[in-house]
Amino acid sequence: MLRVHHSMESAAPASCEQTEKAKKYDRQLRLWGDHGQSLLEIGHVCLINASATGTETLKSLVLPGLGAVTIIDDAKVAHQDTGNNFFVDLASIGRPRGEVALRLLLELNPEVRGTFVDQPLQEILDNQPEFFTPFTCVIATCLPESTLLTLSKVLWDAKIPLVVVRSYGMIGYIRIQIEEHTVIESHPDNEIPDLRLDRPFSALEKYMDSLDLDAMDDKEHSHVPYVVILYKFLQKWNQEHGAPPKNYKEKKLFIQLVKTGMREKESGENEENFDEAVKAVNTSLLPTSIPSGVQTLLNEAANITPSPTTKPFWIMARALHEFVSSEGRGVLPVRGTIPDMTADSEKYIKIQSLYRDQAAQDADWVLRRVQEHSQQLGPRKVMPSLENDVKNFCKNAHALRVIKGKPIVEEYKGSINLSEIGAHLENPESDLVWYVMLRAVDQFHSEFRAYPGYFQDQVETDIVRLKVCVNRLLADWGCGPIVKDDFIHEMCRYGASEVHSVAAYIGGCAAQEVIKIITAQYVPINNTHIYNAIAATSGTFML
């Protein structure tokens, strides 16, 4: 499929021969660019437990070129590992699992560095919690509840993102614990163009006023960019109605008005640019506004007091807010890019450059304010890329995203959104019930030192015990015993089995979440994802 240009390449002069690395990573560089790749390559991820789920997660991080990995695992490779884990082999049975998995994972990409630690996690948590400081992100799997909660606290305090990933029978689970994650390049799938037809900036107005559609010959007329057509007819409409078309009825009338300007082509077909104008009416006549998520972000920025420890994102957000309140007159900087439009090259490029110039001007105002703040904060690292960073920030202003998370330890101590839980549990289509089951089996394990149904001959008796755990949990949350027996029976059936296809699925998902966190591009989940391989469904919940 032909893709329209996004600037994904570094400013360095493009040599016609790509480096070997650029060739190898070509397919992914088209998704997160050289700058995203650079961040990935300085990333250092720690995996706790090289089980099937753990190694499947790490696999999709090593392949794209993560900088370094550290595996903490005190298990030895057992027979059952050879039946679900690709990164062990028969010859290594009995050896430290972290060592074996590391070796077989690093083989996938010679550029990745790695170490393994053959030590119980609890020991490290108890004696050297600072061990985790160098990590960009920690991935944890197969942890009993008590250890998980300790880890959760240590990493929350150290402000290191934690991604918990599990596969349990036919169920997959991901939980992201991150205090605050900001995204400038969120790459939204659908974007409404920023054409400013409701408030054209003066240079745009001047240029479009200089064009006289009626005076053009047929060829020129059919090559006028549709934004000009909409501008002209909007003027006509406003003269008559006093305000732009607001509702469906008025938009229909407006479209009819636009069509009066169409000239018939020799071939009998419509002028394409007028067809485009008609198609664009629904989105292009919306008043320029700030998306609500961004407005919330700006409101928060307005209330912060910049200090030497304030993240650059928030300094820029603050400057953006100030711009919006003054030079911007209530709206964001002009985005600067416009969709392709059937038009002659000259007019299109002229108009495109008008939007681009205005965007640069607006970004300049924001930059000045950022510099003001930086100066007031005293000597600060001079960022050589500041101008580009601000430009990029402004270009993406409409799609900025902020994720604010909660620590797992808080979730487990009972401050879950109770109304949400109940509603989901009553809904037969919701997968939240599996979250309840995972919590319940963890409680079971805390109590009985084994997972329900782990042993064949205990499946039946464990069903009864698990049901007690489930109902106790629900009672803690203020819910009645509303989980059907089927789910309890199914969890006992699983007996904490880790089957490869489920591990591979959830591992792939988790790896991409880690990449999102490291590259700060695209948007991570917030904060819990459940995969149900029985029905091939999934759900994301904020817990």
């Binding site: 998704l31 070129g65 790896a511 091939a536």
Partner: protein
């Protein structure tokens, strides 16, 4: 040894040896199921690339031991960011061969047989020998072909489908952060052709834009590819563009930059040039891992009944959070491939043969590539137009301009159409417009 085997497969055995409320109605928990699966079930994996490597690993680690993999490609450097069974030293070797080698070496119980072939190299006897087919293809044409092949294997007795002739097809596809997985039971559920109009063909830029009014860097690159290269033949006469040859790409890149400079267009880069010329689709390890895993889970369910299969189409997108949507794609009542409904060609007596061919190639419904047409006229087969061999094509070419009337195509006459998109011919009945 038996103890080791039992211990090795303990995880999967829990799903196969224990009853549960969500199993398929046919399921019977048994300690023999895994053994039986390993001794008897033959699975065909089509493609040994991004999805194929993952599929082989996943199937092997779910207990399948009798795997066959077909792929017509060799390994390239740009594959190595996700096709993890390959190493730098393998570049240039056939994918199917290297993939099989790796899996066989890493997972002792598994035996993968490889074929460095196109799927079209095999006949119905080959495909009939499999219990399940799973695809990790990057081409819609190939998907349609295998879909047609499995449909052609169906047996009907007194109009009733013999269910034992149904070979399930699990199909996966990925593009960047998007993917989909579907379960097809040929003859019973929606097939590839049923959903053909969900995949409109690639839209190319209009030629007049490329030639006269370029606005985007892509237009400049296409101008070089489509117009300048055939004119200047920079390397040798009639040499086609090789998107993998850096010399070709460099030439196109420089000329595209010149063109862009003429019009004041910015943004022509080497990476963009390559992307446009090769129609590159971005790809990353994680999406392939997810979709292949989803497909493998379905193959496992179909082989063992341990659980009810996906019903029947799932889309995936993890660019913003993780989004999936699973729905039952319905069988198209008049599907060209899987319905028994005869296809009608509604034409006027004055329509030319080339107009009929245009319907077959351009409509969303048929999307054929190079259809060859033969008609049954008065009990005899009459070739209307065939693309090959060249001598026949030349002889039949004048027919393109002849009308339906001139060709003697009366109401009700059957036309058999052959095309790369299906291994079997499609029968059409002529219906004349009044």
């Amino acid at each position: 040894m038996a103890v080791e085997w039992g211990a090795r497969w303990v995880e999967v055995r829990k799903l196969l040896e224990r009853p549960g409320p969500f199993t398929h109605p046919d399921f019977e928990p048994s300690p023999d199921t895994l053994k039986m699966m390993q001794e008897n079930i033959r699975v065909l994996v089509i493609g040994a690339g991004g999805l194929g490597c993952e599929l082989l690993k996943d199937l092997a680690l779910m207990g399948f031991t009798n795997l066959h993999v077909v792929d017509m490609d060799t390994i390239d450097l740009s594959n190595l960011n996700r096709q993890f069974l390959f190493r730098k030293k393998d570049i240039g070797r056939p994918k199917a061969e290297v993939a099989a080698e790796f899996i066989n070496q890493r997972i002792q119980d598994c035996h993968v047989t490889h074929y460095y072939n196109k799927i079209q190299d095999f006949d119905d006897e080959f495909y009939r020998s499999f219990h399940l087919v799973v695809c990790g293809l990057d081409s819609i044409v190939a998907r349609r072909w295998i879909n047609g092949m499995l449909l052609s294997l169906l047996c009907y007795e007194d109009g009733m489908l013999d269910q034992s002739s149904v070979i399930p097809l699990v199909d996966g596809g990925t593009e960047g952060f998007k993917g989909n997985a579907r379960v097809i039971l040929p003859g019973l559920t929606s097939c590839i052709e049923c959903t053909l109009d969900l995949f409109p063909p690639q839209i190319n830029f209009p030629l007049c834009t490329i030639a006269h009014t370029p606005r985007l860097p892509e237009h400049c690159i296409e101008w070089v590819r489509l117009l300048l290269w055939p004119k200047e033949n920079p390397f040798s006469e009639e040499m086609p563009i090789d998107g993998d040859d850096p010399h070709h790409l460099s030439w196109i890149f420089e000329k595209a930059q010149k063109r862009a400079a003429e019009f004041g267009i910015t943004g022509v880069t080497y990476r963009l040039t390559q992307g446009v010329v090769k129609r590159i689709i971005p790809a990353v390890a994680s999406t392939n891992a997810v979709i292949a895993a989803a497909c493998c889970t379905e193959v496992f369910k179909l082989a063992t009944s341990a659980c009810t299969p996906m019903n029947n189409y799932c889309v995936f997108n993890d660019s913003d959070g993780i989004y999936t949507y699973t729905y039952e794609q319905e069988k198209k009542e008049d599907c060209v491939a899987c319905s028994q409904v005869p296809q009608e060609l509604l034409v006027s007596p004055s329509d030319k043969l080339q107009d009929i061919i245009a319907i077959l190639t351009d409509s969303l419904r048929y999307q054929m590539k190079k259809p060859g047409l033969q008609a049954m006229v008065d009990g005899k087969t009459k070739s209307l137009y065939l693309h090959s061999p060249a001598s026949i094509e030349e002889k039949l070419r004048p027919n393109l301009k002849k009308t339906v009337e001139e060709l003697g195509l009366r109401d009700g006459i059957e036309i058999a159409v052959a095309d790369v998109t299906s291994p079997s011919t499609v029968l059409f009945k002529v219906k004349l417009k009044k």
